[in-house]
Amino acid sequence: MKRTILRTAMAASVAAVASLPLALSASAQDTIKVGILHSLSGTMAISETTLKDVMLMLIEEQNKKGGLLGKKLEAVVVDPASNWPLFAEKARELISKEKVASVFGCWTSVSRKSVLPVFKELNSILFYPVQYEGEESERNVFYTGAAPNQQAIPAVDYLMKEEQVKRWVLAGTDYVYPRTTNKILEAYLKAKGVKAEDIMINYTPFGHSDWQTIVADIKKFGSAGRKTAVVSTINGDANVPFYKELGNQGIAAKDIPVVAFSVGEEELAGVDTKPLVGHLAAWNYFESIKDSKNDEFIAKWKAFTKNPKRVSNDPMEAHVIGFNMWVKAVEKVKSTDPDKVIDALPGIEAPNLTGGISKMLPNHHITKPVFIGEIKGDGQFDVVWKTDGLVPGDAWSKELEGSKDLVADWVDKKCGNFNTKTNKCGS
């Protein structure tokens, strides 16, 4: 342990000494480096490889437009291999060794938590593109994915109003995102008058593949004579066997709809979706949304990957928005200096791919529209409902005790967890 600290200290001092000439030579080289921190191997490669590709495409495109501040952008890709501690190491490598101006990366909450100290210590910028459980706002991180109030809460509202759901199954994979989201949802449902006996909460391990008992339990729970729905925070790999079992046991969407927060176009690519038609997903973007910006993006994406069947999804859009915001902020302050860019980002606007303009908020979250889509037979989604305008992301949930008094404001209060009751920074 001691040795690691020593080594880190040494590395830091070496880096500090080396940084002067390096900074000079960097301007001479005329490139701005952008770090891409996504797993290209291991369990998460299934989701994260796509995000690496989308970043490469965005950087290539920006270079075709003449780069940034008159310099070319250069992508630095590292592979943290779905290994959480390795994320921190690779982040350090990107910032200290490669001197990247900002980093786009991470997928799971645990990988984000793992790199946080590194970004704070070395004062760099991370753009995090995935919907997550909230309850966090850090100065060095910009959250371009959905907070719970931009995905989970509107989805539950939709089920209550449109489908008249009275009984709720909250099914999730056993880790921090589903547990926190379900805690928020449970509090929200109870506040809406749903009784405890009408909520069933179920957790399964990562990669769970035998869903017979749980699907049978859901069926049983649904036979109490009141409309039942499943709110699924089941993660990635476990979804395919879950949906296969639902289809095979004949749970149709018109009887017990399932609304999922982690199932998008990419996840459905491995499933025959015909038995799943009508089940729902809540996202801030769907590939099927008709908009000129989206059409253009999809065409470019298919050309870039040279694969006409390649689908696009929500976290990809989050990277597009995040990247464009970063470019605008850098152009605004004419520098890639992290402190200047961090201060410039709140208030920056960038178009999203569904016809709106998203804005970076002082709490480092962005405004997004919320869509509810039904699964179609071809693996795409048909949007059946959307919010009227854009929903601003809440860093701290209004539903949870201990979190509802907190606000994040990096512009006026310079604080990620300002307590409005005690008027102090820090809970």
């Binding site: 391990p205 395919v240 491995g270």
Partner: protein
């Protein structure tokens, strides 16, 4: 309210049809049909919903076909708000008149969109419209739809249908539908309701329980008591079925474990090689299945139902050949050094995973289910899915064939001989090196077969094998190393124990409890359920 109006209209329409009086009333109904059809072009769910009730109420003979087309996404509308219908043969028709239309002269057509609410309306409307359909399957479906929608205005149509029905099953479904309708009406007679409760009670499944539990509050006392009784009775019956269900699910999970572990029982159990790349052999089998299906989809779609049968020998060969390569290339230099073998095979597993990830991409690949493996069937209070049932059968067949191969073939004899005493076998002119390679190939090949089966229930992704490797070792160690029967009993008991624990402890805790139990068991019997005895153990 709207639902009531719809049913009133349906019944009206039916009675008009039955009476055969297509006079002035028919005229106005035709108009209402046309105006209802026009609403489909409104491109809003409310309009579509209204259109469905209008069409269902119109009594038009084309109504059922039109609503079916809507259900299948074959109902289209154009920019200029005209509605067209593509019939099952692919011919384009004008929806309101039924006249053929020429697709070439029309502007771009968009399908009428549906969501879950519309799907429920469609189901209810079709239920009402096809209670008297010619095909028995449709009548049954209609009865079930009315059972779900339980709307009072369907009652006269139901009575007519019950009177005419000759098929016992459908008649029962119709009577259950009538009972459901009667129970949810407040004005029905007490005697009728009591009879209805007993009909529903006889049905006795989860839907019946759901219906009884969800009845409106204002019921006569006798009915309320009967309902409570019936729910208690159904609950008892379901609880009994629950035990059977856990047992079935346990056997099904056990058969999956058996499939994954049985190849390992050969390589680890018989040869003593700790093969961490075993899971990747399973994955390669699954990817072989995917490739076979790709080729079939591209060149001979008619053969799709046979794709798994074609994939079985190929998956065996692919995995077996790679197994031979691993054995000859790496493992044979490491016999007798279990730790080095473990590390080397773990490395191989990573190499294979990343190779597949590079070759096929990181995302899941779709392996379709042949016709006979899709869906489920009801057996008493059980829902058994066909794919699980076939996997149980498949696992059983592999087990028996493998057992026979080891017992009755020369290769099997040699394998057993080499396992028991390598030097003596060598002295008897058995080519031990070749036997090692073949044994490893057999174990790997069987893992490939497991991959074919697992492609039906799990992700086909580079990570497929990882999920099974720990469970496989658990089964083999628990069952007793070196004994196929031990693997069978081990897999089945772990599967059943898991499924009985899961409902009480949850999936996460259930698995932990199971591991604790196995640890305790291994403390007591370090060599597993079926320990090998005699000299072979010391070898």
């Amino acid at each position: 309210m709207r639902v009531h109006a719809r049913w009133a209209a349906v019944v009206l329409g039916l009675s008009v049809m039955l009476a055969g009086s297509f006079g002035a009333a028919g005229q106005s109904l035709a108009q209402s049909y046309e105006s209802a059809v026009a609403k489909f072009a409104g491109d809003s769910y409310n309009d579509t919903d209204a259109a469905i009730s209008g069409v269902a109420a119109s009594g038009n003979p084309r109504a059922a076909a039109l609503i079916e087309a809507l259900q299948d996404g074959r109902l289209l509308f154009s920019e200029d708000k005209r509605v067209y219908l593509r019939d099952r043969g692919g011919k384009l028709l004008e929806a309101s008149s039924g006249e053929p239309a020429d697709a070439a002269t029309l502007p771009a057509l968009k399908p009428v969109r549906i969501n879950n609410r519309i799907r429920r309306s469609i189901e209810a409307a079709l239920g009402g419209l096809s209670l008297l359909a010619a095909e028995p399957a449709k009548r049954l479906e209609a009865a079930q739809a009315v059972f779900k929608s339980k709307d009072g205005k369907a009652l006269p149509a139901l009575e007519t249908a019950i009177g005419k029905e000759s098929d016992g099953n459908i008649k029962r479904a119709l009577e259950e539908a009538r009972a459901a309708v009667l129970l949810s009406q407040s004005e029905a007679k007490e005697g009728d309701k009591l009879e209805a409760v007993s009909i529903i009670r006889r049905r006795g499944d989860q839907d019946a329980r759901g219906l009884l539990a969800g009845l409106p509050g204002e019921q006569p006392d006798t009915v309320r008591r009967a309902v409570a009784d019936a729910i208690g009775d159904i609950d008892n019956r379901l609880a009994a079925w629950n035990v059977v269900q856990n047992l079935c699910y346990g056997l099904s999970l056990g058969s999956v474990l058996l499939l994954a572990a049985i190849g390992l029982a050969i390589t680890f159990g018989v040869m003593g090689v700790i093969n961490m790349a075993h899971g990747e052999m399973v994955m390669l089998g699954a990817y072989t299945t995917f490739l076979v299906q790709e080729v079939i989809r591209g060149s001979a779609p008619a053969l799709f139902d046979y794709s798994l049968a074609i994939a079985i020998p190929l998956a065996f060969l692919v995995a077996a050949l790679i197994g031979i390569a691993i054995e000859r290339g790496v493992i044979r230099f490491l016999y007798g050094r279990p730790l080095e073998t473990l590390l080397a095979t773990w490395g191989i597993s990573l190499i294979l995973q990343q190779a597949v990830r590079t070759g096929f991409g990181p995302s899941n690949r779709e392996v379709g289910a042949p016709h006979f493996m899709a869906g489920a069937f009801e057996l008493g209070g059980l829902t058994i899915t066909w794919n699980r049932l076939w996997i149980i059968v498949f696992a059983g067949i592999i087990f028996v064939v493998l057992l026979a191969a080891l017992r009755f073939t020369t290769l099997g004899l040699h394998m057993r001989a080499v396992t028991q005493n390598r030097r003596m076998s060598s002295a008897m002119a058995i080519p031990t090196g070749r036997i090692d390679a073949l044994t490893f190939a057999l174990g790997s090949g069987i893992a490939g077969l497991a991959g074919v089966a697992l492609s039906q229930i799990d992700n086909v992704s580079p990570n497929l094998g990882q999920g099974y490797i720990i469970d496989s070792f658990l089964v083999v160690v628990f069952g007793g190393v070196g004994n196929l029967w031990g693997t069978l009993v081990g897999a089945m008991s772990l599967g059943v124990a898991n499924k009985f624990l899961e409902p009480y402890a949850g999936a996460v805790l259930g698995k932990i409890l199971l591991l604790v139990l196995v640890i305790l068991f291994i403390q007591k019997r370090p060599r597993g359920l079926f320990a090998l005895k005699g000299r072979a153990v010391e070898a």
